[in-house]
């Protein structure tokens, strides 16, 4: 029975223009994967309500989910923070237990 491994889940709220940069950081830090969700309505203290404007992508604010070991998460947070200083976004971390599928297992 594959055991559940204690890890950390990092949730990063970021806009589309900075998404590519954030995902590069996540991959470079060695996370085994990421799952990006689309936010439909958002509000924050620094940038208020972000409306869907212009003819760019709809629902521009994304929620990036990354589950990895604490050192990897810490590195990601360190490199993402400077981006959050300049652009709308925020991040939070929580403890989870993840089912680690060995690479060889997939068909």
């Amino acid at each position: 029975m594959k055991e559940l491994v204690p890890m950390q889940k990092l949730e990063i709220v970021i806009e589309r223009l900075q998404l590519g940069q954030v995902l590069d950081i996540v991959e470079a830090a060695g996370a085994s994967g990421y799952t990006v969700l689309r936010a439909v309505q958002t509000m924050g203290r620094r940038h208020g309500v972000r409306e869907d404007v212009g003819l760019g992508e709809l629902e521009r604010t994304k929620l990036v989910l990354v589950v990895a070991r604490p050192p990897v998460i810490a590195r990601i947070i360190e490199e993402v923070t400077p981006i959050l200083v300049d652009f709308p976004g925020t991040l939070w971390v929580s403890d989870v237990q993840m089912k680690v599928m060995d690479v060889g297992e997939g068909d």
């Binding site: 309500v49 212009g54 003819l55 760019g56 300049d86």
Partner: protein
Amino acid sequence: MLALLSENLLTPPILFFLLGFGARLVRSDLEIPREIARILSIYLLMAIGFKGGAGLAKSGWTAQVALSCVLVVVLGVVTTLLAFVILRKVLGLTRLNAATIAAHYGSVSAVTFITGVVFLERIGATYEGFTVALMALLESPAIFVGILLGRERGGQEGPKKAWLSRKVLEEALFNGSIVVLSGGMVIGAVTGVRGMEMVKPFLVDPFQGVLTLFLLDMGLLAATRVLGFRRIPWGLIGFGLAWPPLGAALGLFTGLLLGLSPGGTMLVMIMGASGSYIAVPAALHLGLPRANIAYGITLALAVTFPLNISLGIPLYYWIATLVAG
């Protein structure tokens, strides 16, 4: 004059706008998916651009066109400054909010312009083809002026946050509306009659029907924002109602200076009287990230737009025929 009014009001586009508006007021859950509203905007910009390009190709590049381009940019700057002063001094808004709303009104609502073109074509009035090019030109000046006015003075403008970062420039000059509108124009001009033949059953024939469906959605959006009015100071709503005559007057003056036909003059009046809710908000989103853009969009879309397409269009044309006749 009354004939003109009913000529405009009793048409499917305006009536479907009212249907959408009324539906939301009685809390109908009718909703047009955002993706559909998006492609309808792109279609309308592409079609009016293509038509404008074909017209430009016919009329050619004349002194009048060159002068018009210059004067329209001036119109954009002047209207933005005028709106800023009114909002800042008369209504006492913060510098940031005043600049944001002013930028909306210094630019133009492409759909109001398009509804005006449809009105002119239905009553058989002529208008200069290059007015479409003027509309495209009018998108950017207001954005630059707005950001300039909205940025805090001194200190905080470090190099990285230069008041006009590369991203803001890209958005101001190459946002979706300008790309589709001016791209459509260039391609319309280049491909000429044979090009028009290829796309006529798609871009020309169903144009008024697509506008009708789009205005149904606009009605829903406008009413949704009207229902949210309680969060907007009354002074602002007053501005949204009072601006059209002012903006139209500036447009009339510009039209006369350029010796445009009554139809052409009416379209320039619309440029002055209308506020953008597609291109400008997108640019300000980047240029003034802290600005509360909801105000600008709500006024331009839920106050000024309904006023312009129902009463504005026929009245501006009536005035234009009197003055520029």
